[in-house]
Amino acid sequence: MRTLLRWGLPGLVVAGCVGYLIVTASGASAEYYVTVSELQSHPTTGDVRVAGVVQDGVERSGLHVTFTEKDGTASMPVDYTGTLPDIFKPGITVVVEGTMGADGVFHARTLLAKCPSRFSTQPYTS
């Protein structure tokens, strides 16, 4: 019993602290990860990450880029300033993180190329 108290009590205290940190931190900074159509059916004003495919008609000027991101049915315009991933081009899937503006344009803070072929090239087909 005494050993249990000796080791269990500090363990519980630390576990409690860790649990508290996890809950508060994930509550404060977890973002929804959605597709374009999910975002349009449940609009939010907070930060979200949106996955979709880049459509033709990317406009660049310096570091500023605007393009249309689309999944199966829905599409939305995206506005981003910053360095683009090397593989960025129409047809790839990107994940943008940011907020949906009142103007209907998604203002991305970060842009990641989500490419299943990061470590391997496209499967060979012929």
Partner: protein, 645 residues
């Protein structure tokens, strides 16, 4: 073509030999039959040899450009430099699994050779567990994800390695980190075996600890090289992104770091035996979990491996490993604690180690939750993800507590603290206060920085004061008690890493600038001038190089385009490193009017991270090399010299 059949045959032979070894070894352990153990061990060596053969075959196929193999076609082409063609071995899913299995076979064999001398049932069970793991990997390689699959039509050229991987880092980072992952299986096998055989002799503890140290060292080097590579290649000015791939490499490292500390308590005071075995087992379970997460593509990650059929297999393997470990700990850990040892006082070295363990596991829990959150919330509907802010908020306070403990813990005695303990604490306390005041004078107001830097200074003062005390009193203890002083060196290295991380985290400055040739930009007091750009053609790509003058150096950030890969681009950053700060230049875009867009970062003290990391590894290696080896298990030893390993 023939190589494909040869390799597949070697893998199948490995599965059969490994399976045979596993069954026989468990039987031998059950019956305590040294002769059968010996046969099982040799079958394991044979299975490892088959894996080696398969590895050699794949490497030969790569080097000779045998495009009848799907793997060779998908990961190399004729224009790739030969060193990178050879590195294609671990550049893809199947090959990296084979490499992993190969390391498991070789390290497993080495551990069994050295354990054979120690005799007993532990060696038999360890052989069985290692052989089971090896057989699982060989089975997946032979049946589910074979690197020896053939194409019906042999193409004239391959698709080539992804440009991101066409870099010198490819030659060092993946082999080290994959070897690190594979090596966690060895301490796991010996921990489980000693529970199965109900033996926890000092010899086995030493043996397990030795291989845990090896795994830790490989994993540390792998993490450090990964950070270095990400920083130099990815072009986003960072060395750590809290991506699932990084997280799953960090978690087993944290568990093993905890083990290396708490195993001291077991050696000195005969406590925490079960906890230590648990840590070693958790480290391996985290490795399997990580492999499953990364290879199955179930959590969103920037660097996903090609999604393949091995996910379910690894999930099954993970479930089996967890069930086995949990059952083993539940059934066999009922050993009564040694009541002859008096409980340690609250403020003692032992308590410090316990607290450090709890904090490290706490950090691992934070990382684990962040990694699986998309999975858990996805099942509940409404997938949610966390980024760097989550990890900073949740793990930051734990890291701060660890740093503070790093300053106090080593000064606490194993027994009751006395007046000299309090006196020894004056150095870290003074260092912390002075650093805090210096930061206030320098107008640093970030609470996190005001905590991190003083704690780091205190930890450094503790390690330095211990060195000073040893040098004044008895310099020879530095060598005789080398594990302790090696640990202080590692602690000093950690402080240097913390300083680098904190400075680059709180002090990074970045600016995007568009410059015409001849124009200059200033970032954080550093002035850079764009002098012009040109095209350069290399064997497998064309690159546009921009020359940027910085002081008397010329930095050359560039953008490469790979024509053979559908025009895929790759950015090469240019970095000017000094001990004070890195000037990090990314060529973001080029415009038609001749101007170029640069993103310029000034990252303070990044060089300290690499230097400190090397010091940590050096400290641990120097502290543990040349220690007395494990003493053979004398009791129960029936057959000794007649059966060489």
């Amino acid at each position: 073509m023939i190589l494909g059949y040869f390799g597949a045959g070697a893998l199948l032979a490995g599965v059969v030999l490994g399976g045979f070894s596993a069954c026989l070894a468990f039987w031998a352990g059950w019956r305590d039959a040294p002769v059968l153990t010996q046969i099982a061990r040799r079958a394991f060596y044979a299975a490892a040899a088959m894996t080696l053969l398969a590895g050699v075959v794949l490497e030969v196929a790569l080097i000779t450009h045998d495009f009848s193999l799907v793997y060779v076609v998908e990961h190399t082409d004729l224009s790739t430099p030969m060193a990178l063609v050879a590195a294609g071995f671990y550049g893809g899913q199947e090959g990296s699994l084979l490499y992993w299995t190969l390391i498991l076979g070789l390290l497993g064999s080495a551990s069994l050779v050295t354990s054979a001398r120690l005799g007993g049932r532990v060696a038999a069970y360890a052989t069985g567990i290692l052989a089971s793991i090896l057989t699982f990997f060989l089975f997946v390689l032979a049946v589910v994800a074979s690197p020896f699959d053939l194409l019906t039509v042999t193409p004239p050229d391959g698709l080539g390695l992804n440009p991101v991987l066409r870099d010198g880092g490819m030659l060092i980072h993946p082999p080290v980190v994959l070897a690190g992952f594979a090596s966690f299986a060895v301490p796991f096998a010996f921990a489980c075996a000693s529970l199965l055989a109900r033996r926890a002799d000092a010899a086995w503890i030493t043996h397990t600890r030795r291989f845990a140290l090896l795994a830790w060292t490989l994993q540390s080097a792998g993490l450090l090289l990964g950070m270095w590579w990400a920083y130099h290649v990815l072009g986003w000015g960072g060395y750590w992104g809290w991506d699932p791939v990084e997280n799953v490499a960090l978690m087993p490292w944290l568990a093993t770091t905890a083990y290396l500390h708490s195993s001291q308590v077991q050696e000195r005071r005969g406590r925490l035996g079960t906890w230590n075995l648990g840590l070693v087992m958790v480290a391996f379970l985290l490795v399997v979990f990580g492999t499953f997460i990364v290879r199955s593509g179930i959590v969103p990650s920037v660097h996903t491996f090609a999604v393949s059929a091995i996910g379910p297999w690894f999930l099954g393997f993970l479930a089996a490993c967890i069930a086995f470990s949990a059952a083993l700990l539940a059934v066999r850990s009922g050993a009564k604690p040694d009541t002859s040892v008096r409980p340690a006082p609250l403020a003692s070295r032992e308590s410090a180690f316990v607290l450090q363990n709890l904090l490290l596991i706490g950090v691992a829990a934070v990382v684990f939750w962040g990694t699986v959150l998309p999975l858990v919330t996805g099942m509940l509907g409404g997938e949610r993800v966390v980024g760097a802010p989550y990890y900073e908020r949740a793990a930051g306070p734990l890291f701060a507590a660890l740093l503070a403990l790093l300053a106090v813990g080593p000064l606490l005695p194993w027994r009751h603290p006395n007046r000299s303990t309090v006196r020894a604490l004056r150095w870290p306390a003074a260092a912390a206060v002075l650093t805090f005041l210096a930061l206030l004078v320098a107008e640093v107001r970030s609470p996190a920085a005001l905590i991190a830097f003083p704690c780091a200074a205190a930890a450094a003062a503790t390690a330095l004061s211990e060195y000073g005390r040893a040098l004044v009193r008895k310099p020879q203890v530095l060598v005789r008690n080398r594990r302790r002083y090696g640990a202080y060196l590692a602690h000093l290295g950690l402080v240097v890493v913390v300083a680098g991380v904190a400075a680059s985290h709180f002090g990074q400055q970045e600016r995007d600038v568009t410059l015409q040739p001849g124009q200059s930009a200033t970032v954080a007091g550093y002035t850079l001038t764009y002098s012009g750009g040109w095209q350069r053609a290399l064997t497998d790509h064309v690159e546009y190089v921009a020359a940027v003058r910085f002081g008397d150096q010329t930095l050359e950030p560039s953008r490469a385009t790979y024509a053979t890969l559908g025009g895929q681009a790759l950015t090469h950053v240019a970095i000017s490193t000094t001990p004070v700060a890195d000037v990090y230049v990314v060529l973001a875009a080029t415009n038609d009017d001749g101007s170029a867009v640069f993103r310029i970062f000034v990252n303070p003290l990044v060089a300290w991270i690499w230097a400190g990391g090397v010091v940590i590894i050096l400290g641990v290696v120097l502290g543990n090399v040349g220690e007395a080896g494990p003493v053979p298990e004398l009791a129960r030893r029936r057959i000794t010299a007649t059966l060489p390993a």
